[in-house]
Amino acid sequence: MCLAIPYRIIELLDGNRAFASTGNVRAEVRTDLVKGLEVGDPVLVHAGFVIEKIDQDYSEELESLWSRIRDLAGEDR
């Protein structure tokens, strides 16, 4: 039930609403929970509400984990 689907914002509407699409699916979503959305933003949608923008898959923590994994797997940097 905590499933959230990645969509892309295609049109901002008034009243905390927007159109978003994923593949051939186009849906009206609520934007109450995330400020500053722009057309083109990739977002996560749960139960009809945008719950977060999707960012690049990077953090120092994750990079450090990958570094440890490469060492353990015996791979060259």
Partner: protein
């Protein structure tokens, strides 16, 4: 990081196999993770030293039988419409389900977003529209938004029978359970989108448990397992994240603000686990007119689980579904006895779909 997906997964698996020298018990807390672990065959890829338990991460499954009976009693009222997410329709109460009440002529509507309740209330002024709300922190902000909009519009024929639940208190109950001996938690990705990292820090600080927020692709889950193996082997437990593309350390401040405006914390009953203090979302006094339990002076009964049903033990990771005597015999997805067989994210439904056979790897 390696760029090819298969190469990345291969590297993570090599690391996990090197790290998992001693037996360790990990629990995935989210029902979507349970399904993803089966779908990607992750148990088969892990070394035998790692035991994966499924936890209480399906909101339908953890909704107490008495709470379902209370919602059913509202559904039978005259001039009443119940709106709820589709997963709740077939969950059996003590005598009927919402699906059966609908067949008997009562007005039960399936919605995909809480905001649809506004239109239902506006279009049906002669009816009391009651939103039967379940779900964790991922879902509760939409209910908070609904209540704020209903208050703003002055809607008096809309209320919420609210059984939303908070995740950190149930994690604490599991960490404290001596029979489980969990070494680390695979934390729910989309609950964490709302909460951020902070609310999990007690797991390491108070209980010495490893924890890592995971996404929902196979690689995301394997990355989190590798991180947990490192934390456990090096005795450096903390609340980490392997899902930074969606989860900010501070969570979603706007969603947290809405939750805090509408709700405070209160006790909640979890099926099979019992009452857990501060694990529910109680309406703040200002919004009590939207609380269906108060509005209708509703009695929420305490009800025993159906005879033989061991959903409670499944939800707390004490048994696997195949150890329940009803699994796949009296209890199937077509005729479910307990809620874990109803929702597609329920542990029993996932086992029924992916692991009905005799492969012992699923019992790990």
């Amino acid at each position: 990081m390696p760029t090819c997906g298969l190469s990345r997964v291969g590297s993570i698996l090599k690391a996990i196999h090197r790290l998992a020298e001693r037996p360790m018990v990990l629990m995935e807390v989210c029902g979507t993770h349970t399904v993803s672990i089966f779908r990607h065959g992750i148990r088969e890829l892990l070394p035998p030293s790692i035991r994966l338990l499924s936890g209480p991460g399906c909101p339908v499954c953890v909704t107490d039988q008495g709470d379902i009976d209370a919602a059913l009693s509202l559904a039978r009222r005259k001039n009443t419409m119940i709106a709820t997410y589709g997963d709740m329709l077939r969950v059996p109460g003590s005598r009927t389900s919402l699906a059966e009440e609908r067949s008997s002529g009562h007005d039960i509507r399936i919605i995909t977003s809480a905001s649809q309740c506004i239109d239902l209330a506006l279009e049906n002024p002669e009816k009391e529209v009651i939103f039967f709300a379940v779900g964790f922190e991922t879902t509760a902000p939409a209910t908070a938004s609904l209540v704020l909009e209903a208050a703003d519009k002055g809607l008096h024929n809309l209320s919420v029978i609210n059984f939303h639940k908070r995740t950190p208190p149930v994690l604490e109950a599991l960490a404290l359970d001596p029979s489980l001996r969990i070494d680390g938690f695979i934390l729910p990705g989309h609950v964490s989108v709302i909460l951020g990292h902070g609310p999990y820090s007690f797991l390491a600080e108070k209980y010495g448990k490893a924890s890592c927020i995971a996404g929902f692709e196979g690689e995301d889950i394997l990355l989190a397992i590798a991180d947990l193996c490192l934390q456990i082997r090096e005795k450096t437990p903390r609340a980490s994240s392997a899902y930074p593309r969606a989860v900010r350390p501070e969570g979603n401040p706007r969603a947290l603000e809405l939750l805090d405006r509408v709700f405070s914390s209160g006790p909640a009953r979890w099926r099979g686990i019992g009452p857990i203090p501060s694990s529910g979302f109680a309406f703040r006094k200002e919004f009590s007119p939207f609380d269906a339990i108060m509005k209708w002076d509703l009695h929420v009964p305490q009800v025993a689980a159906p005879e033989g049903c061991r959903c409670g033990d499944v939800l707390s990771g004490k048994i696997t579904p195949r150890e329940c005597p009803l699994f796949s015999t009296a209890c199937t997805p077509i005729r479910p006895v307990g809620p874990c067989m109803v929702s597609s994210e329920g542990t029993c439904a996932a086992y029924f779909r992916f692991a009905r056979g005799g492969n012992t790897v699923w019992e790990r």
